[in-house]
């Protein structure tokens, strides 16, 4: 029987309150006057005062807030080029066929249960994820020098890695490229590291400031942690060439800097999983240590399922196993163990050669569509005679283009053309289609020729 839910706003000195105060009195050894003092001195004891009254409204997340603003706009021509989530030519989100197939299998399999995963997550998933990024024949894997733990997508992997370093690594500085994904500084600061920057993007060329990068890494104290975007740099889309990567690697190793790769777009950048993993693999091949955060949000379309992995490549198997035990101590007080659904899907896809092959085909289709959008946008701006050099649109790689538009121009495009993007001028190419490219080109053209 359900008891009735009673919500009287009990005045402090009602009769039932009095009764309880009397009962309470026997727990007080103090005098009446001390009682009164206790009741009046605490600012939180009066009815209704919150201990969190001093909080102010936090600003919207600059990236995720774009989608909120987009959702509110009633215009039929609105375009969401904010968050990096893939859209089809029809502008719809996409769940990959391989994912749907595995989902159906999971649902119809009565033997599946929902028990807690181990703290480190699904073992198969971890093993296969390491193979995916390092290559199945990687010596580090053969020698058991890699520890891999399932985490909550890229963000979770970065945070767990950051907290691990703050607890166990002798250096607190982590160097982030300028610019970088907006969430990076917050992740590492809250993890307990000190954020520094190194030059990366050259606005004049809309390309890599290679000299600045080498200078800044060269000046970093020995042992500093260096965050590297494995491929498809977010937000600029500017990646080092293979030759530049080799120079970077040599410098990092000679200065005994510790590389921490963020790999959120493997397969999505060039369309080839192996090609996109090359920078990471070259750092493993030289025998050194590194961390890598992997995400399956984009390349397997598993965004909301929060699937990712943190791998730490160590000098020896013994160290790797100690590292793993300490990673568990970071994870347990954060969320105990990771969510089961997404990792189970990924493991099933990676393990089965048919599903894996089908996945690579679907992945290439997504990457190719984005490359084609780049070409179409470039051609459309060229056709309109929009002033400026727009070749960076086809030179940059991955989901994002750093247009070079400033925040006034961005506001103009939002106001007049209902184009939603982050104020740094970053657009998600995945949000474009052949139908909407002309509208965007018009907006860019107008912004560049009209706005001050």
């Amino acid at each position: 029987m359900r008891p009735p839910v009673i919500f009287q706003t009990t005045p402090f000195f009602s009769s039932s309150g009095d009764r309880r105060l009397n009962t309470l009195a026997k727990h007080f050894l103090q005098t009446e006057s001390e009682n009164n003092r206790n009741m009046s001195t605490s600012p939180t004891s009066s009815h209704g005062d919150s201990v969190f009254a001093h909080l102010v409204l936090a600003p919207e997340d600059p990236i995720l807030g774009v989608t909120l603003a987009y959702n509110k706009d009633p215009s039929p021509v609105k375009l969401n080029l904010g968050v990096g989530a893939y859209r089809t030519e029809e502008g719809k989100p996409l769940v990959l066929n391989v994912v749907r197939r595995v989902e159906q299998e999971l649902v119809s399999n009565p033997a599946r249960n929902k028990e807690y995963l181990p703290i480190t997550g699904v073992a198969d998933f971890n093993k296969l994820s390491a193979q995916l990024i390092f290559g199945a024949d990687s010596p580090a894997i053969q020698e058991s020098r890699v520890t891999t733990v399932q985490c909550l997508s890229g963000t979770g992997s970065l945070r767990v890695g950051g907290e691990f370093l703050a607890k166990h690594y002798h250096q607190r500085n982590i160097y982030l490229p300028k610019p970088t994904w907006g969430n990076h500084p917050k992740v590492f600061t809250l993890a307990g590291l000190t954020v520094q920057t190194y030059r990366y993007y050259a606005p004049a060329t809309r390309g890599l400031d290679f000299q600045g990068l080498m200078e800044d890494l060269g000046a970093a104290p020995s042992g500093s942690v260096i965050l590297l975007h494995a491929c498809a740099h977010n937000p600029t889309g500017v990646d080092p060439t293979a030759e530049q990567w080799e120079e970077i690697r040599k410098l990092i190793r000679s200065k005994a800097l510790l590389p921490f790769f963020d790999s959120a777009y493997q397969g999505f950048a060039s369309g080839s999983l192996d090609k996109d993993a090359q920078p990471v693999r070259s750092f493993v091949a030289d025998g050194g240590e590194l961390l890598v955060a992997q995400s399956y949000a984009k390349n397997m379309g598993l965004y909301g399922e929060r699937v990712g992995a943190l791998s730490i490549v160590c000098k020896s198997a013994d160290v790797a196993s100690k590292v793993e035990s300490q990673l568990k101590l970071v994870i347990r007080p954060m969320y105990s163990n990771p969510p089961i659904h997404g990792a189970t899907i990924v493991a099933a896809v990676l393990k089965d050669s048919d599903l894996f092959n089908e996945w690579t085909i679907e992945l290439k289709e997504m990457a190719d569509r984005i490359i084609s959008m780049r070409q179409q946008l470039f051609d459309a701006l060229h056709a309109r005679g929009t002033p400026g050099d727009w070749s960076h649109i086809i030179k940059q790689i991955g989901m994002f283009t750093f247009t070079g538009l400033n925040s006034e121009q961005v506001s103009f495009m939002t106001r007049e053309y209902h184009i939603y993007m982050t104020s740094d001028g970053r657009i998600s190419m995945a949000g474009l289609s052949s139908k909407t490219v002309p509208h965007l080109a018009d907006a860019i053209h107008a912004a560049v020729t009209k706005a001050v």
Partner: protein, 425 residues
């Protein structure tokens, strides 16, 4: 350190960089192997044991009478409806709005005025652990000089959570070993002696690990005293519905505090009561003075969640909102949760009967007085070790038994083992 650096510096200058990397020793070589988690480590040891008689009464995951994990029917049905029909887009940072709404109704009451007045700042969290961690981080940010008062004993991970969030801990008396019940006068004294405006962690129902809950009258006194002292009550509710079989009844402590005008914080978990363990679904809520404050609190919680995991996993949240949002499925859930609670209550009675029939000289009424998944048996660590080494029965060394691990097939064996290790005590 300086000598080593200059030596390795010379090596780098002389050799190729590729070879130079190999001369470095590991940055992590001085890392110590971490101790095994006291709770999850028990299951690892159990799995490794080859004995046919082995029993796992360690981790708190429900088992049916055949010792098998259970996926609830209402959950299976919800999953069938979800599969294939949903995109996997990012949830908002604060998670599924629908799931949060349903969670608040469950905890605060279907017709709660606080929900109507939009006074609750709430976000989806990574089960109970995630909700506690998010609150601890929130407490640290906005009350950096505060501490958290935790009961003795409490779930072991509570220590780790508040520690990693940077919040120092103090304790308050809770369990009375002599009576295997509540140390009520100790508890009240510690609440009184804490400085005004302290933060207190309370288990809403089915205290973990002891199974000892205050009575309704005791809760009312606790609430009044906390009110007088101006303390902040934070409830960890991991077992709503699972303790008595009735979610409304299990929320009684919370409802008392709400009646008394407390502005509570609350961590909810669906791991046990909906069997969604590995999906990591929960909710963190903070009751505020008004809607404006609730919106501010929620926005600040989001600022803490974004650099931790960006946004919470969608699958488990969809299951919860599908089940709780559909009257038929919700009714099915209520029946199934009662079945689980009843089986555990039945096992408590059977275990106690068996021990008394065996002629144990010790008192065992605490087994049926305690509530929820766990029983604080009173076994010493040495006795626990004997349970494992002689009888292949796995439990945590504090003597905590997960009643869910007992069934009609093994309860006699376990009773016998307990009797054997305690009869000469």
């Amino acid at each position: 350190m300086a000598v080593r650096n200059s030596l390795s510096g010379q090596l780098f200058r002389r050799s190729s960089v590729v070879a130079g990397a190999r001369f470095m020793s590991s940055w992590f070589r001085s890392i110590e192997p971490a101790p095994k988690d006291p709770i999850l480590g028990v299951t690892e040891a159990f799995l490794a044991d080859q004995s046919p008689n082995k029993v796992n009464v360690g981790v708190g995951a429900y088992r049916d009478d055949n010792g098998k994990p259970v996926v609830l029917e209402c959950v299976r049905e919800a999953e069938k409806r979800i599969a294939g029909s949903q995109f996997m887009e990012y949830l908002p940072i604060g998670g599924s709005i629908k799931m949060v709404e349903e969670s608040l109704k469950l905890a605060y009451g279907e017709n709660s005025e606080f929900i109507k007045d939009k006074r609750i700042g709430a976000v989806q969290a990574l089960s109970g652990t995630g909700a506690c961690r998010l609150f601890a981080a929130f407490q640290h940010r906005f009350h950096p000089n505060s501490q958290i008062y935790i009961p003795v004993p409490t779930w072991a991970n509570h220590h780790n959570i508040w520690r990693d969030a940077g919040v120092p801990m103090k304790t308050f008396r809770y369990y009375h070993p002599e009576t295997r019940g509540l140390d009520f006068s100790g508890l009240m004294e510690d609440i009184k002696n804490a400085p005004d405006g302290s933060f207190f962690l309370l288990h809403a129902c089915a205290h973990n690990p002891t199974g000892v809950d205050p009575s309704e009258e005791q809760w009312r006194e606790i609430s009044s005293l906390i009110k007088v002292k101006g303390h902040f009550p934070f409830f960890d509710m991991a077992y709503q519905g699972f303790a008595s079989g009735d979610p409304e009844r299990d929320a009684k402590a919370i409802r008392i505090f709400l009646e008394d005008g407390h502005l509570i914080g609350l961590a909810q978990s669906y791991a046990k009561n909906m069997g969604l363990y590995g999906q990591r679904v929960g909710c963190l809520s903070v009751l505020c003075e008004d809607e404006k404050q609730a919106v501010a609190v929620k926005s600040q919680l989001q600022l803490l969640a974004r650099p931790m995991y960006s946004n919470p996993p969608v699958h488990g949240a969809l299951i919860v909102s599908t089940v709780l949002g559909d009257p038929e499925l919700k009714n099915l859930w209520l029946k199934e949760v009662k079945v689980m609670a009843d089986r555990i209550i039945g096992m408590r009675a059977t275990l106690r009967e068996n021990l008394e029939k065996l002629g144990s000289p010790l008192p065992w009424q605490h087994i049926t007085n305690q509530i929820g998944m766990f029983c604080y048996s009173g076994l010493t660590p040495e006795q626990v070790d004997r349970m494992t080494s002689e009888f292949h029965i796995y439990m945590t060394r504090n003597g905590r038994i997960s009643m869910a691990g007992l069934n009609t097939g093994n309860v006699g064996y376990v009773a016998n083992a307990i009797h054997e290790v305690t009869k000469s005590a």
